[in-house]
């Protein structure tokens, strides 16, 4: 299934034509984008030209396209190929991988190279892992392409922020409420889109994501509009705040454990908090996949009409998928709010939804380990790319293109059956 067919040999003439076409497109794009630039000199602001750059760009695209044809033709090394071919042989390794991952995640903050920056980035990775796992229920299992997942993330974040700021509820009281509200929103969105599928569903969910964001901007009295909500309480260690100077009569975390206060304690606490939340999400998903509802989700992804013919209600199946997926988005949102201490609608734009969908799709639809890998790649690549300064998005884009060429089905697309035929010891 994963084998990539060697394409038929294309004659040189066709390859030149293809490369020339790419060069024309590159030229059309490059002339306004690169060829013209604003020059600020003594005479004021004027438009300068640099057509030599354009020529270099076009030549680069032409040669690159020609070479790419060659790469495909000679079927050069595909770094992911062994991964696919050795899937059966690698099974014991694959089974060990999650445990190694969890062990590494637990040990990470204690490792010598771990500083505040590393833990912060790791926390961000874990937020995306959790969001990816949540969306995986909707997209990967139930096959409902949801481009507005960030809406539930926002509902969770605002639920926590508003409840904590206005009603003085603690993080642990708000967390389940945030999940419930987000899940409720998921079901609410589910109703109007029950009959939609594929592209149409994607467009409506995208719209829903935008609606939620615009409501957050405009409902000034409740959400504070574009200014957002500030002063969101930090989480407590079961009532013990992680601050240097706790309020009168309150024991802080470091006092509770007789430690010296350090700012990194809170960062580490947040890290472990999201680690636990993410692992709970994963455990839940692994478990529910083996229950009738989980199998119905997958069956729905495979063939909705066959589901109906077997008496499986697509309505209930879709609504539970939307609801449960949204619930985990809400949990992640509550965590995000407490971590940042400040939220505004800007954090919940479409690009976030797109990133989460990209994580699920890149990881390999429905694959839990794939989500981890893809979240790490999507968050870390721009981080490592910082050295390339303004070119980091270019590096990022190039990496995406390579992935799409080599692993169109996602990084880890292998699916394990949820039940195997038990040995027949006893006659029926």
């Amino acid at each position: 299934m994963a084998a990539i067919h060697a394409p038929a040999r294309t004659p040189w003439g066709a390859r030149f034509k293809d490369a020339a076409l790419a060069a024309v497109v590159a030229g059309a794009l490059a002339i306004p984008l690169i060829g013209l630039h604003a020059v600020d000199d003594a005479k004021g602001l004027r438009i300068g030209t640099r057509f030599d750059w354009v020529a270099i760009g076009i030549a680069f695209v032409f040669v690159g396209r020609l070479l790419m044809g060659g790469i495909r033709q000679f079927h050069l090394v595909n770094p992911f190929q062994p991964l696919a071919h050795g899937a059966a042989r690698l099974r014991p390794v694959a089974r060990l991988l999650p445990w190694v991952g969890i062990g590494f995640a637990i040990a990470l903050p204690l490792l010598p190279f771990a500083n505040r920056y590393v833990i912060d980035v790791a926390t961000t990775v874990l937020i995306y892992v959790m969001l990816g796992w949540g969306l995986n229920i909707v997209v990967g299992l139930a096959g409902l392409l949801d481009l507005g997942y960030v809406a539930f993330y926002a509902v969770g974040a605002y639920s926590y922020a508003l409840l904590a700021v206005n009603f003085d509820l603690s993080f642990w009281e708000c967390l389940p409420l945030a999940g419930v509200f987000a899940g409720f929103m998921g079901v609410l969105l589910g109703f109007p889109v029950l009959r939609l599928r594929g592209d149409y569903l994607a467009i409506v969910t995208l719209g829903f994501g935008e609606i939620v964001r615009i409501i957050l901007i405009n409902w000034q009295t409740l959400t504070g509009g574009p200014n957002g909500i500030t002063g969101i309480p930090r989480p407590t260690f079961f009532g013990a705040p992680l601050t240097a100077t706790p309020d009168e009569g309150v024991t802080a975390f470091h006092q509770l454990f007789g430690l010296e206060y350090a700012a990194v304690q809170r960062v580490m606490f947040l890290y472990f908090l999201i680690l636990v939340l993410a692992l709970v999400t994963n455990l839940f998903t692994l478990r529910i996949r083996r229950l009738p509802i989980g199998r119905a989700w997958e069956a729905l992804r495979e063939d909705e009409i066959a589901c109906r013919a077997l008496g499986i209600s697509p309505r209930n199946t879709k609504l539970t998928a939307f609801g449960i997926g949204a619930m985990f988005g809400g949990f992640a949102g509550a965590f995000f709010a407490t971590r940042q201490g400040f939220i505004s609608p800007e954090s919940f734009t479409f690009i976030e939804s797109a990133t989460i969908v990209a994580i699920v799709v890149l990881g390999g639809m429905g694959s839990q380990m794939g989500v981890v890998l893809a979240a790490a790649v999507l968050v870390l690549l721009p981080e490592f790319g910082r050295e390339f300064a303004q070119y980091r998005m270019l590096v990022f884009g190039a990496a995406m293109v390579l992935l799409v060429i080599w692993r169109p089905q996602g990084l880890l697309a292998h699916r394990e059956p949820t039940i195997r035929l038990p040995r027949s010891d006893a006659p029926i």
């Binding site: 839940f284 478990r287 529910i288 229950l291 009738p292 509802i293 199998r295 119905a296 997958e298 069956a299 992804r301 495979e302 063939d303 009409i305 066959a306 589901c307 109906r308 013919a309 077997l310 008496g311 499986i312 209600s313 697509p314 539970t320 699916r415 059956p417 949820t418 039940i419 195997r420 035929l421 038990p422 027949s424 029926i428």
Partner: protein, 268 residues
């Protein structure tokens, strides 16, 4: 003969100006195979779609006589019709291709397992009664895998099976949903003569041993004549003949519909 399992009375289905089924009445009995035949476009699959709730019939009455109750199928949504025991297969096979063969058969038992898992909540906490229900479901699945000869492929993705195996798996899956009326839309289409004879034998066996009524759409006349108890012939949405296979085979109206008449050909 006892009361019919399914009574179709004056069923009509119109799509705009086109009448796909015109005033059709027939009955199907339990433990009997009722075949619906007719040339392409005669409205056979439309009958199935009306019966199973995929289409809403324009007029007519569809009654399913269960032991305890009478159900008016034309008023029920498809999901409830399937739960009431009318389960169908499709002309173009509709399996869950990425799921394993066994999973396909387990999914067919969804509603029972859903109850056993206390609508997921009991399953999440690992209820013992759910685990045993799942084991029972797997045993039912094994039983049907043995009947269709696919035990060895139980853990393979359903989409990786050869065509003939997929056909049989779809029937096994329908049987796992515990039907009282099994509607098969061209089950032997595309099979070679040996496989289709074997499948015909299986259908006869299902009908006799499981006491299920079978409604069969089929173009393969050998199969139809071999295993059917009753044949209904449609042409342009109308019933043109009905009766035992032998009687239908020699009916002039049927021969005309299939082979055409010299006059007809000239007029066209």
């Amino acid at each position: 003969m006892t009361a019919a399992l399914l009574d179709v009375e004056r069923l009509s289905m119109r799509f705009g100006g086109v009448t796909a089924i015109d005033d059709l009445s027939f009955a199907a009995h339990a433990c009997a195979i009722t075949a619906i035949i007719g040339p392409n476009g005669a409205g056979k699959t439309t009958v199935f779609n009306c019966l199973t709730g995929f289409y809403r019939a324009s007029s007519g009455r569809l009654t399913l006589n269960r032991t305890s109750e009478r159900l008016r199928l034309e008023r029920m949504p498809d999901v409830r019709i399937a739960r009431a025991g009318v389960v169908r297969t499709f002309q173009n096979i509709r399996l869950f291709p990425a799921m394993s063969v066994l999973e396909n058969l387990i999914v067919a038992q969804h509603n029972e397992l859903m109850r056993a898992s206390l609508y997921t909540f009991g399953g999440l906490v690992g209820l013992k009664s759910y685990r045993s229900a799942e084991r029972r479901a797997a045993e039912i699945a094994r039983h049907w895998l043995e009947r269709v000869g696919l035990v060895g492929r139980a853990d393979d993705p359903a989409g990786s099976l050869p065509y003939g195996d997929q056909r049989r798996l779809e029937i096994a899956r329908a049987m796992c949903a515990r039907p009282i009326l099994l509607c098969l839309d061209e089950p032997v289409a595309g099979l070679n003569p040996r496989d289709s004879a074997e499948l015909a034998r299986l259908l006869r066996e299902i009908c006799d041993r499981e006491r299920v009524g079978i409604l069969l759409i089929e173009h393969d006349m050998r199969v139809v004549m071999d295993i059917s108890d009753h044949v209904v012939v449609l042409d342009y949405g109308r019933k043109i003949a009905e009766g035992a296979p032998d009687a239908v085979r020699n009916d002039p109206a049927v021969i005309k519909a299939y082979l055409g008449e010299v006059d007809d050909a000239e007029k066209a």
